[in-house]
């Protein structure tokens, strides 16, 4: 059964698993058989050959995201991403996408806290064309003021659509600073409205000049290509762009979360109350022991990965207390990690009761631990999905790019499923104690304006 809201949740909260697990796992030694090189200017190049259809996905990832923004300039990483379509010394505004489309290609770009990526999918004989265009805007961006002004309105409308029109997003944005007290993850990727309004063209130019340099970039090409030929083209187009010195970027860590806080948002658009609990957890990048990160992935699968996991079976099926529930592990960023649990009560059940049931299920896990059978099944599920990782054109480029952008090396990616396969019951129980038994937490609570609406 796939309901829109349940599916959305599972997509959202499975995202971590999706990045690493569901699409990366494999029982084989290597998932992608990717080939790599590094250009003289420091730009990394990775190629995944897949000759199924005469098409290719070309992606450039920059190791820069919203977390790298200067104070007071929130939203500039994302705004710059929009402006990257507004022309260079030789390519007019909008001409980049128009050229790609005219050649039967599709292009887009996205920004997160950790990275910014630009991609095109196109017939493989047009690879050189998109490489020429993409390398051009790595070095020669030129934005006119008359392009900047309406684009700021576009970004503000995007903010309205994604955040201000949606109570759940408002809560998330408001609650982030309770969880991240030291790391810029506290600030939304889209930016605060008042700061977006104040952004100047020069802010975008400064950000571009600071971070858009080949030694801060990764090229990933997947599809109907030969690696050596891609390397040659990369040398020709990207290899000639001089590297620039990058600023030192602090490896910001969160201090231990010792307090428990509840952040409540009421909105009369809310018809269904819900609650989520966030706990500090080591990310892969910041973990002293990487094995903890793999164990957390397995733990999250067992506790709340899908509709066969402990939380859903207990709260939704057996007790009928919740309409949806689950957990997620968010451990694949450049910054700190998180483990989360969520629940939304069934009709006529109070949010308090649903929260108590959620906590009771966690308590059972902490008391009795997970079983060998559960660990084995979770590992199999993650690894099986890997066998299908190549059943996609852009999927491999997405997964590899994302991994390298946050600090994995290619070997970490290719052997990820093996590492998952080594996770033991003891490791899962140990990280469960460490993460879930810790008293510090932030609870996000979404409620209707009046209590009567919730139980109607």
């Amino acid at each position: 059964m796939r309901l829109p809201f349940r599916t959305n949740l599972s997509i959202a909260f499975a995202a971590t698993a999706l990045l690493w697990g569901m699409t990366l796992g494999s029982a084989q030694a290597e998932i992608y058989g990717a080939k790599q090189t590094t250009l003289d200017n420091g730009m990394q190049v990775v190629v995944v050959e897949n000759h199924r259809a005469p098409v290719v996905t070309h992606m450039v990832w920059y190791r820069v995201g919203a977390m790298d923004e200067p104070a007071g300039k929130s939203g500039i990483a994302h705004f710059l991403e929009h402006l990257m379509f507004k022309g260079t010394d030789t390519v007019g505004p909008g001409e980049f996408s128009a050229t790609v489309a005219r050649n039967g290609g599709q292009d887009n770009a996205f920004t997160s806290q950790d990275y910014t990526a630009y991609f095109q999918s196109v017939a493989s004989d047009r690879l050189e064309m998109v490489m020429k265009l993409e390398s051009d805007r790595m070095a020669h961006l030129k934005i006119a003021e008359d392009q900047f002004i309406p684009e700021k309105q576009v970004v503000l409308e995007e903010r309205s659509m994604r955040t201000d029109n949606d109570p759940g997003s408002i809560l998330q944005e408001q609650a982030s600073s309770a969880f991240y007290r030291n790391h810029p993850y506290a600030i939304p990727v889209i930016g605060w409205r008042h700061e977006i309004e104040g952004l100047q063209l020069q802010d975008a130019v400064n950000f571009y000049k600071t971070f858009y340099t080949p030694n801060n970039a990764i090229l990933v090409v997947s599809g109907d290509v030969e690696a050596e030929k891609v390397f040659d083209l990369a040398r020709k187009y990207y290899g000639t762009i001089p590297a620039r010195t990058l600023p030192d970027r602090p490896d910001l860590r969160e201090p231990p979360l010792l307090v428990s806080s509840r952040v409540t948002y009421r909105d009369d658009r809310v018809r269904q109350p819900s609650l989520s609990i966030r706990k500090q957890a080591p990310s892969w990048t910041q973990a002293d022991n990487k094995a903890d990160s793999y164990a957390l992935e397995v733990l999250s699968q067992i506790l709340g990965g899908n509709s066969t996991s402990r939380l859903y079976r207990s709260l939704v099926i057996d007790q009928g207390i919740a309409v949806s529930t689950g957990s997620w592990y968010d451990g694949d960023g450049r910054g700190p990690g998180m483990m989360g649990l969520y629940v939304s009560p069934a009709q006529g059940v109070s949010l308090d009761k649903a929260e108590a049931a959620l906590r009771a299920e966690v308590a059972v896990l902490l008391k009795d631990g997970v079983t060998q059978d559960e660990v084995t099944r979770a590992i199999t599920r993650i690894q099986d999905s890997a066998a299908t990782a190549r059943d996609s054109l852009s999927g491999p480029a997405m997964n590899i790019g994302r991994a390298l952008a946050v600090g994995f090396n290619l070997d970490d990616v290719e052997t990820w499923p093996d590492k998952i396969g080594q996770v033991t019951v003891d490791q899962v129980n140990t990280v469960a104690q460490r993460v879930l038994a810790a008293p510090g937490e932030v609870v996000n609570i979404l409620l209707p304006k009046s209590d009567t609406e919730a139980t109607q």
Partner: protein, 465 residues
């Protein structure tokens, strides 16, 4: 891919807030409903396979990954069969037949799917009931058995039926405050009124509680029948293996059931503007006017015309005027929606309340093309995009299978992938301009606005009011 399936409910998620890092903001809104069918290239070989029991499927063999993907539909077997007062029956059925079947209760059934990473899932629109199947070949026998059981021996045990029912009801409640869902439903009501396309496929807060297991069983008997079945298969599988598999999965279904009950909708869209008041910073604007049915000989011309007007995500008239030049919206788009018994040209945008009137006026500029025709370069670019991007549709198994299913759904010939581009290439500027002159209809252009728009006069009654 198929736009015919009328809008699924976009009930807002039970959003507890995602971790901020999972948020990825894209430069352009993704346009899923861009085109009806983009063809593949000649290298994709489509075979017709007929099972020993006489069940037909179209197959593309592909050894890239050791999987089998099946996409299938029952054409004319959707929510059109919902009895009055029992709206949502097809949807509830789609949500419950994978929650226990044959000897397996819900937990056992879902547990097997999960343990083996098997996809067996169903969905229902007004016109059709659809299924998706995806499995690694090493689990294929078990997966086939589960799919077969779901289609022919669903248990409808109390617990899963009531659980899924309550999830649908909560989704419906939530969607009451989601501007996009409200707008979409209001548009359906405004255009189709009492016609089945005006009814909510997912049911209502009063209808969903009334649906019984007997209703679902009788729905299945009349709708999920072999005479309506279209099947596309892709993967590492031979025709010899596929034949018996088709019989195993579908062989026990009834040969015939009740015919499609949805009458043809021939009225025009009413024209004018309906406004639904909602306290949000950004108004959702939807628009619609008559479109082209899939078997209209001008359909390909229509695809080219729509791409120029608002189909191209980056370079269309609407994007240029509304987003690029004026910054009025992040997302603005149009698309052709050919349903089985009606056809629309639709679109939408999200704009701050103060500038809704201006945005609506810019959409109305559509009508200028009726008189003046379209720009020749833009028409040429549309054709190279639509033809040149076709191989991008052939990069994963389920997506190819879905196209095989759609080809049969629409009655295309088996060599369609090879002939498709020539149909687009044959479209001339004169064809597009003649179509614009004939089809674009300022009097029938209908807007629905949800929000607090300024300076917008409602000329149509408030739907659902």
């Amino acid at each position: 891919m198929r736009q015919a399936r009328p809008q699924t409910s976009s009930a807002a998620a039970v959003k507890t807030g995602l971790p901020p890092r999972l948020v990825m903001l894209f430069a352009f809104a993704a346009l899923i409903l861009l085109m009806a069918l983009r063809p593949a290239f000649a290298e994709v070989k489509v075979e017709e396979v007929v099972s020993p029991g006489g069940i037909k499927a179209w197959l593309v063999r592909d050894e890239t990954v050791p999987v089998t993907a099946i996409e299938f539909s029952f054409k004319g077997g959707g929510a059109g069969h919902d009895k009055p007062g029992k709206e949502g029956t097809a949807r509830l059925t789609a949500g419950t037949i994978d929650e226990g079947a044959g000897p397996y209760d819900s937990k056992a059934f879902q547990g097997m799917l999960s343990d083996k990473s098997i996809t067996v899932s169903f969905s229902a629109g007004t016109d059709t009931f659809s299924g998706s199947f995806y499995t690694l070949n090493r689990y294929r026998d078990e997966a086939v058995n589960l799919l077969s059981l779901a289609l022919t021996e669903p248990r409808f045990d109390d617990e899963p039926v009531e659980r899924v029912r309550s999830q649908i009801l909560i989704g419906l409640k939530q969607s009451q405050t989601d501007p996009d869902t409200i707008a979409s439903k209001a548009m359906a009501e405004t255009i189709f009124k009492d016609h089945p396309y005006g009814r909510p496929d997912e049911g209502t807060l009063t209808s969903v509680p009334k649906i019984t297991v007997a209703d679902m069983k009788s729905y299945m008997a009349e709708a999920l029948t072999l005479d309506k079945l279209k099947i596309g298969v892709v993967g590492a599988i031979t025709p010899k293996e596929l034949g018996p598999m088709l019989d195993k999965i579908f062989g026990k279904l009834p040969k015939t059931g009740a015919p499609d009950k949805i009458p043809a909708f021939t009225n025009k869209t009413p024209g004018g503007t309906a406004v639904i008041d909602m306290d949000v910073p950004q108004s959702t604007i939807l628009f619609a006017q008559p479109g082209l049915s899939i078997d209209d000989p001008r359909y390909y011309t229509g695809m080219v015309m729509n791409y120029v007007l608002g189909g191209g995500s980056f370079s269309s008239v609407l994007t240029d005027e509304i987003r690029v030049k004026r910054g009025l919206a992040y997302s603005v788009y149009s698309y052709l929606q050919p349903m089985d018994h009606a056809a629309l040209l639709r679109g939408g945008a999200g704009t701050q309340n103060a500038r809704v009137g201006e945005t609506i006026d810019l959409v109305k500029v559509f009508s200028d093309f009726k008189k003046n025709g379209l720009n020749a370069d833009m028409v040429a670019d549309a054709k190279t995009y639509i033809t040149g991007s076709f191989p991008l549709r052939f990069t994963n198994s389920s997506r190819i299978a879905s196209q095989l299913e759609s080809m049969q759904y629409y009655g295309f010939s088996i060599d369609y992938f090879e002939t498709r581009n020539s149909l687009i290439e044959a479209v001339t500027l004169d064809d597009v301009n003649a179509l614009a002159k004939d089809l674009l209809d300022p009097d029938a252009l209908t807007f629905v606005v949800v929000g607090k728009p300024k300076d917008v006069e409602a000329t149509l009654p408030t739907p659902g009011g």
